[in-house]
């Protein structure tokens, strides 16, 4: 008995020590994150992923296109990050954070001992530097455009490096989506030493803290990255990561069939079957974080009449569009936000497809014989709009059946955006891809009266509802997610009743990869984080 105790006491002491020592608490915290739960079954090898285009820039603070985001996100970290399986956030470069009672000050405790790929220690100064260089276009290291800065740092007035491991963000007003924004690629922390060393050429000499470090960039061909062996969350599973640019969808698939590429994006819907039949390949489809819709310009007659707007909603057969143009893998939309986003209000009834109801509403509104108008469509395929001309023609035919004779009008992408921002359209097909998984990113940005100013609008319906505005502003300011969700659910009811849009579709996210690729989950945000992916031999 005594003998036994002699062993037990040290064991107990050691256990207690393990439990209270801060270093081990940190270890426990690390194991809790969703990414670390994905262990590497094997290490080594080269993983090749191919997308339709190359990165525009390897500076995460200076990009807005998905191709760049997919590449840069593997070399850089953010303060917090999206969970491996969803759009909630968890610790990353910041281990913990707190927000002041008035909701205007956010304080982040930073992970200690993290180094950038060039050896520069990661600290609060680097966080402040990353913010300062983006927000001030007179900053000596302003990255060129910083297209996302005003979005992701919305309401932020100042960043203070309190001490090496503590950084404080000061906001002009409480802003609930702030924390999710700190997980966005645009706020990824760059090495100040490297930015100062390379100056304007940092975009091709990227240095971050991420799981992969930069090796080589042959423009419009490929970017090569190598495993960061000292990555704070453990080395990535593969030794090398190569991102190839292969513009043609068919050719990209052929490369994967041959085995020269492991993971691809954007598959032509008619090729889905071909992939499903191939025993070496996997086709993934899941709900997407996007909405394709028709914006009805409420400032233009007859769309200033809610009955007309509802009639248009009844006249559209969404299921037929999805069968014909989305290979059946999209979801019909009834709300502006996709069902993958929290606060989605499933209780909102859809305007079912009914030519009868559409005609009846038109007659009530004084148009028994229908009316003539224009349907604008963008001449560029987007995830939410796979085949623009065909979808536009199908919608034209559907509307005509209800008596709405729409002439099709299109412009090249840049011009199109400018013109619909100027409210020149009566009806315009457009869409939105979520940036951060927050409802505010759809509802406030696309439907609030604040964003309906001609020439600058994102609210292409030019819909101005005071009732909606007060809900959306309140939802930005309350901290509790459950309270926010309740407000957003109400907001969706108002939008449904006023019908400024015809929500069309939430296109599925589609990815294909080889069977040998393990641990790969195409993220709902459609960003390719590949550090926990490993290759089976």
């Amino acid at each position: 008995m005594r003998y036994r105790f002699r062993i037990l006491v040290p064991v107990l002491l050691l256990t207690a020590a393990l439990l209270i020592a801060p270093v081990n608490l940190q270890g426990a915290a690390m194991a809790r994150t969703s990414w670390d739960a994905k262990a590497c079954g094997a290490t080594g090898g080269t993983l090749v992923f191919a997308q339709a285009d190359d990165a525009v820039s390897l500076d995460p603070n200076d990009i807005e296109d998905g191709f760049s985001v997919n590449i840069d996100s593997n070399m850089f970290d953010t303060l917090v990050r999206f969970r491996a399986d969803g759009t909630q956030v968890e610790p990353s470069l910041a281990e913990s954070w707190s927000v002041s009672a008035d909701g205007k000050t956010w304080t982040f405790k930073l992970r200690a001992g993290v180094k950038f790929h060039d050896g520069t220690p990661f600290n609060a100064e680097a966080v402040k530097f990353t913010y300062d260089r983006q927000i001030n276009n007179k900053h000596p290291y302003f990255p060129g455009a910083a297209p996302y800065a005003s979005f992701s740092y919305q309401n932020v007035t100042k960043v203070d490096a309190v001490d090496a491991q503590t950084v404080r963000f000061n906001l002009s007003a409480p802003f609930a989506p702030f924390l999710t924004n700190m997980a966005m690629f645009s706020t990824a922390i760059v090495s100040p030493t490297a930015v100062k060393k390379y100056g304007k050429d940092f975009f091709k000499n990227p240095v971050g803290t991420g799981p992969f470090r930069f090796v080589e960039w042959v423009k419009k061909d490929h970017v090569t990255m190598a495993a960061n062996q000292d990555y704070w969350a453990g080395r990535p599973c593969v030794d090398r990561l190569i991102a190839r640019a292969i513009p043609d969808n068919t050719v990209r698939l052929l490369e994967m069939e041959r085995g020269t590429v492991h993971v691809i994006d954007q598959v032509n819907p008619p090729d889905y079957e071909r992939i499903r039949k191939n025993k070496d390949l996997v086709l993934f489809t899941g709900p997407g974080l996007n909405t394709g819709y028709i914006a009805l310009n409420v400032e233009k007659s007859p769309f200033n009449d809610v009955r007309i707007r509802r009639a248009v909603n009844y006249a559209v057969n969404k299921a037929a569009l999805i069968r014909a143009f989305y290979a059946g893998v999209g979801a019909p939309a009834k709300n502006p936000i996709p069902p993958t986003i929290w606060s989605y209000n499933d209780a909102v009834p859809a305007y079912e497809y009914s030519v009868e109801k559409a005609k009846q509403l038109l007659a009530e509104a004084g148009y028994p014989n229908g009316f003539s108008t224009e349907l604008w469509w963008p001449n560029r395929a987007r995830p939410y709009l796979t085949q623009p001309p065909k979808i536009a023609e199908a919608l034209q035919a559907q509307l005509a059946a209800a008596g709405i004779r729409a002439r099709l009008v299109t412009f090249e992408w840049g011009t199109y955006l400018e013109k619909i921002r100027n409210a020149e359209h009566p009806m315009a097909i457009i869409g939105w891809i979520g940036d951060n998984g927050d409802p505010d990113n759809f509802l406030y940005v696309l439907l609030d009266k604040d964003n309906a100013e001609k020439g600058k609008a994102n609210n292409y319906a030019f819909y101005k509802s005071e009732a909606l505005h007060s809900l959306l502003i309140k939802a930005q300011q309350v901290g509790e997610q459950s309270q926010r969700a309740a407000l957003y659910r109400q907001a969706q009811v108002i939008i449904h009743n006023d019908a400024p849009w015809v929500p069309l579709v939430h296109a599925a996210r589609v990815a294909a990869y080889r069977k040998a690729v393990q641990n790969y989950f195409p993220h709902p945000l459609e960003i390719r984080w590949l550090h926990r992916v490993w290759l089976a031999r």
Partner: protein, 334 residues
């Protein structure tokens, strides 16, 4: 000759200014604000305003043009709006891919085209003549996009003889000095890389060569037939030369003038990039660069690329003109 050359080179200067002005005006007349295009659906008003300021788009057009002119004369083509890269660096990185592809395609087109044309002319109305000229018609009217995909499916995907796309396998290390990969491989005495580069070149070069090949074959045939009807050829034949000897020694050289013109024009236009071929084969050439830049309203990049393409076009035409004097002794430049 020297004076002629000097004059032609001096003519490049007005061409240079003309191109600068025309491209500047056209890019500005095209609707679409680069700031808006660049920021896409996500643009916030502040971001657009800030970007316009950064890009200097708030200046008046004459001021923008003079600034641009001043910089260009000093050899500074500015920075790409989209990537922030120096335009010159961007062009230097991308042109070699186009030059390599153009060269390979024109080698095939000229070699096969001239040979076909000569045989077809020598055996006018034979089965070879008929088949080759009908094939040429097909080659000329074939959609490049379809042909490229078919070649990939058959020779790369199904038979596995060639790589599917790209310029070089990523498994091969090659020091890129000139960015003409074949030249780089030779410089490095890396024979495996050289072979790999050639294997990558075959399918896109064949695809790209079809249209010029068809034109060259038909042009060679008709031009040679015309020459063969001339008096001096009859004299040569009367002297007892074989038909082969007549063609090789007397007729061919004179028949070449229109053929060289066609080759020159094709080289010139291919150097402007071949957007379809580049897209199918994931070839990082100048065609995709220009098209992407136009869609992005990347003014400095469009201006720089068009300027260089125009100058190259003029230079190629100059070379063609000079070759006339070599081919036909009656042509003299003084």
């Amino acid at each position: 000759m020297g004076r002629y050359l000097g004059r032609r080179l001096l003519e490049l200067i007005p061409v240079f200014f003309g191109v600068l002005l025309v491209v500047f005006i056209i890019t500005r007349l095209t609707p679409g604000d680069p700031a808006v295009v660049m920021l896409g659906e996500k643009a916030t008003p502040e971001a657009v305003a800030r970007l316009r300021e950064v890009l200097g788009l708030n200046e008046t057009l004459p001021v923008q043009f003079l600034r641009y002119l001043g910089r260009t004369v000093q050899g500074d083509l500015g920075r790409s709006i989209q990537s922030n890269e120096r335009v010159l660096v961007e062009l230097i990185a991308r042109f070699p891919a186009t030059i390599e592809l153009t060269f390979a395609a024109m080698l095939i087109a000229s070699g096969v085209g001239i040979l076909t044309g000569v045989i077809a002319a020598a055996r006018q109305n034979s089965w070879f003549d008929g088949v080759s000229m009908i094939t040429a018609l097909f080659g000329f009217s074939m959609p490049i996009f379809w042909l490229g995909i078919m070649l990939i499916l058959l020779f790369a995907s199904y038979l596995g003889w060639f790589p599917i796309s790209g310029r070089l396998d990523y498994t091969i290390d090659l020091a890129r000095q000139t960015n003409l990969y074949f030249v780089d491989a030779l410089l490095a005495r890396n024979w495996a890389a050289a072979a790999n580069v050639l294997r990558h070149l075959v399918l896109p070069a064949v695809t790209l060569s079809t249209v010029p090949l068809a034109i060259i074959a038909r042009m060679t045939r008709s031009s040679l037939l015309e020459v063969l009807r001339q008096d001096y050829v009859r004299t040569a034949r009367a002297k007892g030369l074989t038909e082969g000897g007549v063609i090789a020694r007397h007729a061919l050289r004179n028949a070449f003038i229109p053929v060289i013109t066609v080759i020159g024009l094709n080289v010139g236009s291919l150097l402007g990039g071949a957007i379809l071929t580049e897209t199918i084969f994931a070839w990082p050439g100048i065609g995709r660069l220009v098209v992407d830049a136009i869609f992005a309203r990347d003014y400095p990049l469009v201006q720089g690329a068009v300027l260089v393409i125009a100058l190259l076009f003029v230079l190629v035409n100059l070379l063609v003109d000079l070759s006339y004097a070599y081919l036909d002794p009656r042509i003299r430049y003084g």
